[in-house]
């Protein structure tokens, strides 16, 4: 389908890249449909682009690329809300922000995605180990992904 975006113009995405957030995201409760779009530089980063609002898009990434010990305990209600049939379909993404020279990840409010039915939800961790602005990498002009670990 075609999606209008403020950042990339009109883009075409496959139906299987569409995610459904029944509750939206915190602060954005009304936008429930997003497309997960690959960026030009491999698989580290994606754009989560709202289908409903051209200007709403987030950079997201797999937090385990940066933090091997990061783990999201899946609560019963999340399991039921996202209609999981098997935990193996669970994928975790975090929303990234630019803070000064750094790209940060919101590890306190990760996105849980059910890869089987592509329903997703932003959850809030009870553990205080992670922050909303966990530094991921420094944005420099040369090869930012060289420091991805």
């Amino acid at each position: 389908m075609e999606i209008r975006t403020s950042r990339f113009g009109v883009i075409t995405v496959d139906e299987d890249r569409l995610m459904n957030f029944p509750r939206g995201l915190l602060g954005f409760p009304n936008y429930t449909r997003f497309a997960l779009i690959q960026t030009g530089n491999g698989n580290y980063f994606f754009w989560l682009q709202s289908v409903d609002e051209p200007a709403v898009a987030f950079v997201v990434t797999d937090p385990n690329t940066f933090f091997k010990d990061y783990d999201v305990p899946l609560r019963t209600e999340t399991y039921e809300d996202l209609a999981f049939t098997d935990i193996k379909f669970a994928q975790i993404l975090v929303i990234c922000n630019k803070v000064g020279d750094w790209l940060t990840g919101n590890l306190l409010g990760p996105i849980v995605l059910n890869g089987e039915n592509r329903m997703a939800q932003q959850v809030v961790l009870t553990e205080k180990k992670w922050t909303t602005r966990q530094p991921l990498l420094r944005l420099t002009s040369e090869v930012p992904l060289a420091k991805s670990a």
Binding site: I37, T39, E77, I95, C96, L108, V124, L139
Partner: protein, 82 residues
């Protein structure tokens, strides 16, 4: 807003199955105990607010903020770069 006075060890009910008990009061700090069904998530409000704020800020990120890696994968990007 409904305002109720409670003493230590007293409880309020929210609906039929959520209990909030005043466990301890010390100075300006109140400790609450919450009994709720598993499907009700309970969080400190400031955590929610922080995540909401961070989402709003993250929605302002533009591809050009990202040293080039925020571009979407068009055919042109797949051409080998010299």
């Amino acid at each position: 807003m409904l305002v109720l006075s409670r003493q230590r060890d007293e409880t309020i009910m929210i609906g039929d199955n959520i209990e909030v008990t005043v466990v301890d009061i010390r100075g300006d700090k109140v400790r609450l105990g919450i009994n709720a069904p598993k499907e009700i998530s309970v969080h400190r409000k400031e955590v929610y607010d922080a995540i909401r704020r961070e989402n709003k800020a993250a929605a302002q990120v533009k591809p050009e903020d990202l040293s080039g890696f925020g571009k979407i994968d068009s055919k042109q990007d797949r051409e080998p770069k010299k």
